[in-house]
Every structure is written in C-alpha cells, then in structure tokens.
C-alpha cells in the first residue's frame, strides 16, 4: 500500500467513530471530556454549535453515534453519548451571553422558511447572525415542528423545548406562527431572496381494511392523535387499546395511551420483533411499562358492533426467505386471532405531502411525487427554493434535519451572494499534540473498566400517572462523570513519524489491543491478513507508514485502538505522539471563504 496520507481530514475523522456517524459531526469526545471536567457550559456550547438542540437531542436523538462507538467493539456496550449530552444541558450554567447576538444590521437579504421544525430553525440560526432577515411560517402557534407536536412530554419536557427553540428565535427572527402557507407561487411572488421548505412529512399512513369506515370513531391515525394529545385536545382513551405498527411513533402512541387511561395496551406488528423499526431502547421502555408487543400478525379487519369497535382480527403469518434471502410474510395456516379493543391507533408509517406547492411553480417532482432535491446542496430545480429535513428526502429524525439545515444554510448563503452552491467550504481542522511531560498527557488516558451506567427512571407509579412527568431522570454529576470516563477519547489520535522510529517493538509489545504490526508491505487485503490481531472491521482504515530502515512498514489497524497513549509512552524516540483532532464542519458564513 501507499503510505497513508493523514493530512486528509477524512482519515482521522473516521477514527472518531461517533463524530463520523453523527449527521451533524458533533465533536463528541471533546464535549464528553468537558463533562468529566465539570465544564458543563462548555460542553453545551460545543453541542449547540453543531447540533443546535443539545437538551432536546440529549433526550430524543436517534443516536446513530452509539452503534458506531468504538467502546461497543471492545466491550459490551457503547458510551451513553446521547444521555451525556443531556447532562451538559441539565447541569450547565446560564449560557445565554455566549450565544450569538442578533445581527446589528441586515444584509438586505430576506429568507422565507416554511415550517418551524428543527431543519428550518437550524437554517435560521445559521443565517440570522450573518444579517439575513429570516421569516419563519408555521401553521401551529408555537415553534418546534414535530418535536413539539409529536414527541410526548414524558420524553421531552416543554421547558427544554421552549428554552432551545427560544435561543434560536431570540436571534432576531421574525415568526409568523398560526399561518399556513397555502401557495408556493404566492410565497415566491413576495420579496424573498430564497425559500427554505422545512415542512416535514406531515401525513400518517392509513390502513384500509374492512371495518375502517364503520368504526372510524375509534380508529385514529397515530401522528394526528399524538398531535391532539400534545395540544391537550385529547386527554383520554379507551381501556383496551391496540397500536398497529412497529416504529417509534407506535412506541410513543402506546406509551401515551398507557397514560391516558389505556389499562391494557398492546402493540401488534406484522413482521418479527427483531425487524421492528423502533429503536431498541424505545422497545425496552414500552416493555418496562407493561406493554406487550405481539409479532407476525397482519391486521385483517376492524371488528365492530354497528360502528362500535370491539376488536381487530389478525391473520397469523410467518417469515419465509427466497433464494435471494428476501423475506416474505406468508400465512401460517393457523386460525385468525381476535384481539379485543376499544380504540386502535394506526402508526404504520408517515408520508410527505406538498398540497400547497403548485406543480407548475418551477419545482420539479419525481415519479413518487417527491421534489427533486440535490443531495449535497439541497437546492430544488427552482434555484431559489431549498429543502431540508423530512421534506427533503422523507421522514428521518431531528439530527438529520439539523445536519441538512446546516448544509442548506450554506447553500442559501452562497446563492444569495451569487456564488456557486456546488463549491462547498471545507471543515475547520486542528491537530494538536497532547504531550505535557514525558509520560503525561493533557487528557486522561487511563481507560475505565466500568460497564455502561443505566439512566435512573422515575418510579412507574409516578411516571404512568401523567402524560407530562418525564420518565428519565438523567444522570447526576457523579454518574455523568463515571459514564464520561468510559469514553476512549478516539479524537486523541496516534500520529506516527516514520523517520523517528528505530523499530524497537516497544509500541507493539505494550499495545493492549494489538493494533500495531511491523511487517513487509503488501496490498490491503494481504496486509490485513498479516496483522498482529485479526482485522475485523474493514470500515475502519489501516494506517500504513512509509518504509522504515529495515524496509518493513508499520501498520496500525485503527479499529480497536483504545487511545490509551501507551504506544507513545513506551516509544523512546517520540515517533508516536498523541494529538487531538478537532473537526468542525463548515457552516454558513465567514468560514465559507
């Protein structure tokens, strides 16, 4: 292999598994170290800059970072990255004077943002301090989008939401809440320089099976129902409830129903328990609240007694796999199952809908009736119109909406300045030695042996009593510290200088996870086959040095490096150094140029 070029930011960035996996590339280990140092405000600000909603995300994020976390590859479970974010938000001091100030004067450009969900709020936050006049429209009376209308309060208290939405709206943003945009053409006719569509994926899928019309009064579309619960329009439900669907919406529906009078709540999914879309922790929380999840049951009919729902009839199915490994659900031949119920919540998926965008407004739609949006610039076929969040590529999650918001903001900024939106600014990257003394580092390199700590929960008697009592209590400072110490500091990179190496083997000998090999060079597959320990994860790169004196090369498999710094401590010549890699993705504004 050719010697690895570590000057390309991607190489070290990939080593920081969590940051790489985070759609907004939040510098995770950096804020975790700050939590360990009780610098909660600093930890919060690192997050705020990257993901805008640390307190919200610290409770609700889909956490793509955690399955990626290296700790999960050398031990049983990843670091509780998400819940540590909450620690920063909960324990921070007042940070309001550290937020950007509203721009002192306008740059003369006006931006319309449709929807006040996380994508629009992110775009507004990035653009407003630069002088853009941002106007956010939303049909609902308050900002937050689905974070407010859908996510139940027992997962996300209103104060947290108000605080963080407030930080954004406090940047001098004009809000037109309670205003539905009825026509894109009308909007385009107004004096806006650019339009951001952040209107989400607002339509819940229905289930058209016999009995649907007749029993309609007791059959509710999940997201509409949650919306009404959220605004207090609904505050009770029947005693026996069936929730159809296996995603996170279904989990929110069943847990909400449990709190509104549903004594016997059952979730029923078509496929297997394992294939359910809901995150494992959501399923666990539902199970803890005494909600059974029944699988391999396909709804056949809403059974009713002249319009009064009595239950749902299900066909029992089983999974079969064809030669290509594709799964099919086929009738098992067993008798149908009737589950009695007073109400049914249908949470079988969510769709985009753009009734207010005229199809001749210059915005091209594809054959699935989705707008054609560039996956890098988020620009539509009308150069003045940009999409972000669920509206852009279908329902995802908050952190994706935020990440797309940052990118769309960059595009809008470039567009408004008359620059090419495809010329994207690069990230800000820093690499700094952490050496403080011969064997001292400015990070704590002693690896903790603790297993993942559980977040304390409110007692079920209390939690199930109200739709508003937050279930998770969060880590306190002590637990937060200990959990933070589980982080392996993957951003403290091992940086190798081949000219200094005398091939003494000290680093190979000390490395606790056998990452380091001195061997003759070869192609990648060959090298991976000859390492000190099996190379398990080809997603992680191997580092290959320039040839050493003996003509061998040093190969480091980054996969399970603990960043303990022992290689650098045992190296007599300083050929290894531990250097902190800090990467901040570009955002709209000065960094672009």
């Amino acid at each position: 292999m050719q010697p690895t070029d570590v000057t390309k930011p991607e190489y070290f960035h990939k080593v920081v598994d969590c940051q790489w996996a985070c759609p907004a590339h939040t510098p995770v280990p950096e804020y975790i170290r700050m939590i360990a140092a009780e610098r909660y405000g600093d930890a919060y600000m690192i997050n705020w800059v990257s993901n805008v909603f640390p307190g919200i995300l610290g409770r609700t994020c889909d956490r793509p970072c955690e399955p990626a976390c290296r700790r999960g590859r050398v031990e049983e479970e990843p670091v509780a990255i998400c819940r540590l974010k909450r620690v920063a938000a909960d324990l921070k001091e007042d940070i309001r004077d550290r937020l950007p100030k509203p721009a002192s004067r306008s740059n003369g450009k006006r931006i319309a943002l449709v929807g006040a969900g996380p994508s629009s709020l992110t775009v507004a936050r990035d653009l407003a301090p630069l002088g853009y006049e941002c106007v956010i429209f939303d049909g609902f009376a308050q900002g937050g989008g689905m974070i407010r209308t859908q996510i139940p309060k027992f997962r996300l208290p209103e104060e947290v939401l108000d605080e963080e939405v407030g930080y954004v709206l406090g940047l001098g943003i004009e809000t037109r809440f309670g205003t539905w945009i009825e026509s894109m053409k009308d909007l385009l006719a107004q004096d806006f320089d650019a339009v951001l569509v952040g209107s989400g994926a607002p339509r819940g899928r229905d289930l058209q099976i016999p009995g649907r019309e007749e029993a309609a009064a007791h059959i509710h579309i999940g997201i509409d129902w949650l919306n009404s619960v959220s605004f207090g329009h609904i505050d009770k439900i029947g005693r026996r409830v069936i929730v159809l669907g296996g995603g996170n919406t279904a989990m929110d529906c069943c847990r909400s129903a449990r709190r509104l009078g549903g004594e016997s709540v059952t979730v029923v999914v078509r496929s297997g328990f394992k294939e359910m879309k809901a995150s494992p922790w959501e399923k666990e929380d539902a199970a803890n609240e005494g909600i059974p999840i029944l699988n391999f049951l396909v709804p056949k009919e809403f059974v009713h007694d002249s319009g009064r729902l009595t239950g749902v009839l299900f066909e029992k199915v089983e999974a079969q796999y064809d030669e290509k490994g594709r799964r099919q659900l086929v009738a098992s031949g067993e008798p149908d199952v009737l589950i009695e119920a007073d109400d049914v919540l249908v949470a079988v998926g969510q769709e985009n809908a753009f009734p207010w965008i005229e199809r001749d407004a210059g915005i091209a739609f594809d054959r699935w009736d989705m707008p054609k949006v560039d996956p890098v610039t988020y620009q539509s076929s009308n150069p003045r119109v940009f999409f972000a969040g669920d509206a852009a590529f279908g329902p995802k999650n908050i952190i994706t909406a935020v990440a797309q918001g940052h990118d769309a903001a960059i595009s809008i900024d470039l567009f408004c300045r008359g620059e090419d939106v495809t010329q994207r600014p690069g990230p800000l990257v820093n690499l700094t030695s952490q050496k403080m003394g011969i064997h001292e580092w400015s990070y704590d390199n002693n690896v903790s042996n603790d297993l993942r700590f559980k977040v304390p929960h409110a007692k079920p008697e209390i939690a199930l009593n109200s739709i508003k009592v937050e279930v998770e209590l969060g880590f306190d400072a002590r637990l937060g510290f200990r959990e933070a110490q589980r982080c392996l500091n993957c951003d403290i990179e091992t940086v190798f200088t081949p000219q200094l190496c005398i091939e003494c083997d000290a680093c190979t000998d000390i490395c606790p996870t056998d990452c380091i090999t001195f061997t003759r060079n070869g192609d990648e597959d060959d090298l991976r086959g000859r390492l000190s320990a099996p190379s398990l994860n080809h997603e992680q790169d191997i580092y290959v040095s320039a040839p050493l004196k003996t003509e061998r090369v040093l190969v480091k498999d980054e996969d399970v490096c603990l960043h303990c710094g022992l290689c650098a401590e045992r190296c007599p010549t300083g050929a290894w150094d531990m250097q902190k890699f800090f990467l901040k993705t570009a955002q709209a504004g000065a960094a672009c140029r």
């Binding site: 083997d505 000998d509 000390i510 606790p512 996870t513 022992l566 045992r570």
Partner: protein, 351 residues
C-alpha cells in the same frame, strides 16, 4: 515511567490456549524500564512463548539477579513464582530451588553484568551441573541500571555513550556456555521475535541446561554510533544460521522445503524441533564445529544467531545425582529422615 496500568480491554478476538488463558493472562505489571528498552521485548517474547506452550503460570518459577534485565520478571508472568536474588546469585538460588522441587519450570533471567561480571562463577556452575532451566541473559553490553558502564560483554574498541573506548576483550557468553556443557545454546536479538519466540519455546521444552544469549539494546546508554550492541549495529551484523519452529509432538510438516534444508530433531519431552537452515554448512548438533564457526564469524565482525547447539541426549542435574522422581519438597519426614538403620546401611555401603 508509565503511571497507568495497561488497560484490561483487549482485542475482541484475542486467542485463548488450551488452558483457556489469553496471552494477556501471562503479562505482569507495566514495565518501569526506559521506553524502548530491548528487555521489554524479551518479556513480550517470554509471554508469547509461555502462552504458545500452554504452560500453567503457577508451574513456572522466574528467578533473577540485579539489573534492569533482572527487574523484568515483574513485567511478565504475574501469576508465577518469582525470586529476585542478590547481584549475580540467581544461578545458585535457582539450583537450590530446582533441587527442592524438580517439577517446576525454571526461568532464570539475568543481564550481562549480572552473569558475566559479578555472577560469572555462579553462571558457570549452574551450566556445568546441567540444571534443568532456561537461562536468559539480556545482553546490552552495559550496566544499564547503574547508568551505562561497560560490562564484560562489551566488545573491545567499542565506544561508550560518552566516547570512552573499551580496552578489555569481551566475554562471549555463548562460547562459555558451549564450553561449560550447556545442552541447548542459542543467540538471538530482542528486536526479532520471529526468531526469539521459537528459541524460547524450544528452550522451555528442553530438559537440561538451556542458555539463550539475547542481544537487547539499552536505548538509554548503549544505542549510539560506535556501540556494537545497538539496534542498527545488530541488524547490520546479524548472521542467522537457522530458523527454528517448535511443533507439538508428531505434528505434520505442511510446508515443503528443498532437500537438506530442513532438519528435524526430537527432544526428550517428545517435542519436535524443526530447523530451517539458513547457513547450509552449519550443524547445530556438532559442538566442536559450532565453537569454531562462532570464533571465525566473530573475527569477521558478525553476530551469529539462531539455535547454535542442541544435545539430543541432554542429561540434567537430577539424572546426574540420581534423585527420585518425586520432588524433594513434597517428601514427608519419614522419607527425608529414614532413621538410624538406613544411615547405617548407607555408611556400610560406602566402606
């Protein structure tokens, strides 16, 4: 010095041996030696060899003298018996321990100062008695622990770090061991574990006095230009005569070699040593020509490494003394003091 303990976390597919131990189970505490010291690599090689041979750690006794090299037993085999003797006295303590309990595996670890200066006499007698042990000298040509004075293995005319020239001639521990009757003699280099680990495995399965002279650069005091014990010098002058593989009893030979290139030797314990010849004319079974060969090559400035001599018919101290198979320390009073009658019979037999 490294202050933290080596993390317990390890590679997810770290192998286990037939005892269910991983290589990490054969480690000791983190080394306090200078970063990069060759001695640490020898420790790592010992760990690997003991793991490979499935040795139960509690059946190994590690003994050492004084010196950086003699400190290393703390850094490997944390679950084994250990004895850190006074300077140069490891061989006699090891001999005594071996007499008392012949069932343990004895690993003597020493330095060139410990064994070639103050302990030279002790070294000589343990070897000539054929004590069943592995005797490793971590040879760096200096007294590392006392800040780098020339040791007795420093080559004549080599330079110290401060520029002083060594006027005395060097003691070659390998030649001494051959002359004194060691039955397994090897030389290796801390920076070449592919060579060192099999040599240690062979030595550990050898039933007799096994001696390994292991060059082990002192990065702090003897790794400069002008030294003959530094990494660069050893790499440039290393002349390996063979490459050893140790196999389980009767393991099939899979790779094929040109005729005459492979020599297979069976040891007492049934282990099979497979020697791949790098030097066609070198015969590891011939002590006299080995000694000559070593002198010739040394005169040309080469450092001969590999398995230099192996006596297949090795005998050990207990065989020479005719002691019983049961370890003496497990005999009871009745067996150890059989009484007046037995003494009289013994005396009579000597009259």
């Amino acid at each position: 010095m490294t202050y933290i303990a080596k993390p317990k976390l390890h590679h997810p597919q770290l192998a286990t041996n037939t005892l269910g131990y991983t290589r990490r189970d054969y480690e000791g505490t983190v080394s306090t030696l200078c970063a990069g010291c060759g001695h640490d690599s020898i420790s790592a090689a010992i760990i690997q060899a003991c793991f490979d041979l499935d040795l139960p750690p509690h059946r190994i006794a590690k003994l050492s003298g004084i010196g950086c090299s003699s400190k290393t037993p703390t850094y490997f085999l944390g679950a084994s018996h250990g004895f850190n003797t006074v300077h140069g006295r490891m061989p006699s303590v090891l001999t005594g321990a071996n007499l008392a309990n012949r069932d343990l595996i004895y690993l003597g670890v020493s330095g060139d100062g410990d064994s070639a200066s103050i302990g030279l006499g002790q070294f000589a007698h343990a070897i000539r008695r054929g004590v069943n042990m592995v005797y490793v000298v971590a040879n760096n040509g200096v007294y590392g622990l006392t800040k780098g004075q020339f040791s007795a293995t420093a080559d004549r005319d080599s330079a110290s770090k401060t520029g002083a020239i060594n006027k005395d001639s060097a003691i070659d521990m390998v030649s001494l061991a051959l002359q004194l009757g060691a039955t397994y003699v090897a030389r290796s280099f801390s920076g070449d574990k592919e060579q060192l680990v099999p040599l240690l495995r062979g030595a550990l399965s050898h039933e007799g006095a096994a001696f390994i002279d292991c060059l082990s650069p002192c990065v702090a005091f003897n790794n400069h230009a002008g030294s003959t014990k530094g990494f660069d010098f050893i790499r440039e002058h290393n002349a390996a005569v063979n490459q050893l593989d140790v196999m389980e009893p009767r393991a099939p030979i899979t790779a094929s070699y040109p005729p005459g290139a492979l020599e297979t030797i069976e040891q007492h314990d049934g282990s099979v040593l497979r020697l791949r010849k790098l030097e066609q004319d070198y015969d590891a079974g011939d002590r006299l020509s080995a000694m000559t060969y070593l002198q010739e090559r040394a005169a040309q400035g080469e450092i001969v490494t590999g398995l230099l001599y192996l006596d297949q018919k090795a005998r050990d101290l207990h065989e020479n003394l005719g002691t019983i198979a049961t370890p003496l320390n497990s005999l009871g009073d009745a067996e150890l003091c059989p009484g007046r009658e037995a003494l009289e019979r013994l005396n009579a037999s000597l009259r």
